[in-house]
Symmetry: C2
Subunit: 203 residues, 2 copies
DNA sequence: TTACAAAGCGGACCATGGGTCCGTATCGTC
DNA sequence: GACGATACGGACCCATGGTCCGCTTTGTAA
């Protein structure tokens, strides 16, 4: 089932919808002020088209999110340090968390929309499992840390979209300050496992 | 405005609604399978009554939650150690987090319903601010910890209802194991501060 | 006990937004 | 150019939160 390619009008419409949705979510305001009808109208297509292309609202959000996430995913899977695979765990963990945080800062409304409008728990989502699995694996390589799975959950929880939104905007902490605080927190969690010298808290 | 007391049928109905909602949410299944109409029907009252008493859905959830939370709040505000005020911060922080975790374990569906069906972000909720403020104040008394506010957020994030639900059930980690993991994580966060000066890159 | 206003009741009703359906238009192939 | 497959689009459906208002209950005061 090598999924035969879509017709070209279908492809065009798909792109139009993604672009429109992107623009709408970018505009400030609560994510669920953006209705599916709004998106369809902004894209210049009918609701039927929208739903056929993405299945349902979470599907659209997911598609958007994945698209935005792609570069980061690539950087993590096959990029240079400190994100890429060739990085010592002690540096890679904070780098990963910082990257996630920055991503959520850069895509606040979208991340928010996805987490709150998701099909049930965000923890079911494929992309969460991906990040959690990765982080867990890296944590596992750091000696002196037990419960990598839980630690990964707990660290990722500190980057949840609604928390980030609460802290960062509007009129909240500046970006760099938030990054520093997360880095500090991460360092504390990692430091306690390793007995020896300071892990050079800088990423 | 010394809010004159409600009529007794109103009081009775309010209780009936709370009891019914409690029972309905306790029954397994997704929290939003429980509609307001369901609650009204189960309580044997009309929808109008329900909405007059609680304003809206989040209002009902909040009322239920607060009621359940009351004993814990009391234990924290004026109970004996390790929850009460007379406890050294190093012991009180883990005790508080453990209490929150246990509470969410004991009231999973309800906590879930509240967090996901809340009016926007859970971080706006009065009860969150309460816990955060308290935890932050206690953390502040521990030397060597910077960014108490962020630390409090991050620690509380590890007890979020959907994460707890994801980990604990169904067929998940047993209660004691989860508690142990959270305790361990908390200890790691606290331990790292007491060793030396602040390693942070930003103050 | 009766009278009567204020408080409360309840369920028909409304608005909104996600999701479906199907007659019509477009595509792409022969 | 013709014809089947694919896609379009917006009218339509329906669940659910929330409102409205004529009727009932309660509490009080004569």
């Amino acid at each position: 089932m090598p999924e035969r390619k879509p017709r070209k009008d279908a492809a065009r419409n798909r792109e139009a919808v993604l672009a429109a949705a992107d623009a709408l979510f970018a505009r400030g305001g609560s994510p669920d002020d953006v209705t599916m009808a709004d998106v369809a109208a902004a894209a210049g297509v009918g609701k039927g088209t929208l739903f056929r292309a993405f299945g349902d609202r979470p599907g659209l959000l997911r598609a958007l999110y994945e698209a935005r996430l792609e570069p980061l995913r690539e950087a993590v899977e096959s990029g240079p340090p400190p994100l890429g695979p060739g990085t010592p765990p002690e540096q890679r963990v904070p780098a990963l968390l910082d990257a996630v945080l920055c991503f959520k800062l850069d895509n606040r409304r979208l991340a928010l929309a996805l987490e709150e409008s998701g099909t049930g728990s965000p923890y079911q989502a494929e992309h969460y499992r991906h990040w959690h699995g990765l982080l867990r694996a890296v944590l596992e390589q750091i000696p002196g840390l037990s419960d990598s799975a839980f630690t990964a959950h707990a660290l990722l929880a500190a980057t949840r979209a609604d928390l980030v939104e609460h802290l960062a905007g509007p009129e909240g902490l500046p970006r760099e300050r938030l990054r520093a605080q997360l880095a500090d927190f991460t360092a504390r969690v990692l430091a306690s496992g390793t007995r020896k010298g300071p892990p050079s808290a800088e990423g």
